[in-house]
């Protein structure tokens, strides 16, 4: 069930260049079910900035009624969010959207993420591992400075890092790593820039895949029709990234 709650900030810290990790506590955390869902945060009580910010969930702790988000502070809204500290409260609406279907993986899954698309894959990896699925992580970042959660992913499975400038891991994009890896997996999950999702989709046309998309949002719950995409299912139909997604099976979204 979607809730709006003033959640308490438990911890906020910078974990990479412009990248922040934020943990909040409240009953809303217990509504979280699927990795890949997101929350909509009001970063200020004023109307500047006006709209909420969609932030993905990186880790859920149901026992402690907490969840952790990782976001990049680059615009005014996320910069204001980064100024909040432990003890502050935050207006959170969520959980929103449909996440990654963990039950679709059979034995071995590839988790492919780019930049700020990496965070939701961490909770996904945790849940897949808990189900006995072997996870392989292929993660792309701009540079060494921007890399986060490498060790945490390594604890859960084989982890490969690409950086655009080659300052860490393989130089280039995640697709450079994918070209070198075997294709002995049954399901892939991906989150990141649209161009990366397209490339991943092209790389594995025969595999079962699930992609998490981004689009500018207004309401976050499906009412405003801001984040629509065309779909391959019907020429006269459309999907809303916020409420029908953000995760869709590969081959559904026309970008």
């Amino acid at each position: 069930m979607i809730k709006q709650e003033r959640m308490q900030i438990i911890k906020q810290q910078q974990i990479a260049h412009h990248i922040f990790e934020l943990t909040v506590k409240g009953t809303l955390a217990n509504e979280m079910a699927e990795p890949g869902q997101f929350v909509h945060i009001r970063v200020a009580d004023s109307f500047e900035p006006l709209l909420r910010r969609p932030i993905s969930v990186a880790s859920i702790d149901l026992e402690a009624s907490q969840f952790t988000m990782i976001y990049r502070a680059e615009g005014r809204g996320t910069q204001l969010l980064a100024e909040k500290t432990a003890g502050d409260t935050l207006d959170v609406l969520g959980p929103l959207g449909h996440g990654f279907p963990v039950e679709e993986a059979v034995k071995r899954a590839y988790l492919i993420g780019g930049g700020i698309g990496v965070p939701p894959l961490y909770e996904l990896a945790k849940q897949l591992n808990a189900r006995g699925i072997e996870t392989v992580h292929i993660l792309g970042f701009e540079s060494k400075q921007a890399v986060f959660y490498e060790d945490k992913f390594r604890e859960l499975g084989d982890t490969h890092i690409a950086t655009v400038d080659g300052s860490h891991g393989t130089q280039g994009f995640v697709t450079h790593i994918l070209n070198e890896l075997p294709t002995d997996f049954d399901t892939y999950y991906s989150c990141g820039p649209t161009a990366m999702l397209e490339a991943v989709q092209w790389a594995y046309p025969q595999k079962k895949g699930f992609l998490s998309y981004e689009q500018r949002m207004g309401c976050g719950i499906g009412a405003c029709f801001a984040c629509v995409c065309r779909t391959t299912k019907s020429e006269t139909d459309y999907i809303k990234v916020c409420s029908d997604g953000p995760v869709f099976p590969a081959g559904v979204v026309i970008t």
Partner: protein, 304 residues
Amino acid sequence: MIDLTVKLPGLNLKNPIMPASGCFGFGKEYAQLYDLSQLGAIMIKATTVEMRLGNPTPRVAETASGMLNAIGLQNPGLEKVAGQELPWLEKYDVPIIANVAGTTTEDYVEVAKAISQAPNVHALEINISCPNVKQGGITFGTDPDVARELTRAVKEVSAVPVYVKLSPNVTNIVSIAKAVEEGGADGITMINTLLGMRMDTKTGRPIIANITGGLSGPAIKPVALRMVYEVSQHTKLPIIGMGGVTNVDDVIDFLSAGASAVAVGTANFVNPFVCPEIIKQLPEHLHELGFDSVEQLVGRSHRL
């Protein structure tokens, strides 16, 4: 006991608060959050004869205390709205104001005739003011003669009272208001969004794919308030006021300026519970101001 009820043509409102068209879909999303029967009315998303896929994305951009949108009247079309969306809303004890849009007079007439017969549609809102569609929309709302004749044509076929939604993107909004009154309108809703744009500072390109968009949110409230104040002095028609309403004080301002009821738009995106919160707070605020009813407050500014 404070009386929140408002009587308008076709509408016996239990309170003066309603979500504005285009900011509430067809109610399903907000029904997940609270009981829609609390609302005074619901202004549903614009309906056109055929389904519309709307404009390319990005369709929204944030501005200082506001947002730009260019959705482009995306909707599933008359048949689906009448056959699926409206029947679904029947379980709620709330009057529906159906927003009617089109590209020709015939389009408006066809939608108005059919949708006004739905049992839970108590009034129509004729959208002659959408700034985000290339044909229709605002082109009907900027020329008084065209607005008058369209109103007349819709009135002839509508089974329920007709409200006309005015655009602020005109030199003289009073002349448009008078024209729709002459055309037989039962009421006015105002204002629609203000045409605006925003650039991506790095690239110089407009952020909205449609280049321009409609500005809404707190940034436009002073403009909306001024227009409601002006129009209410020059027409006998009741006004449902809107434009940047975010809280109970804004509602009081619009009622004081001459609106009989108030619609909440963009604020629903910021706080999805904003409508029920305002409804809950309204009696206490009226009491503090020394009023026993909403109707006593309407047009207060003109009596000072």
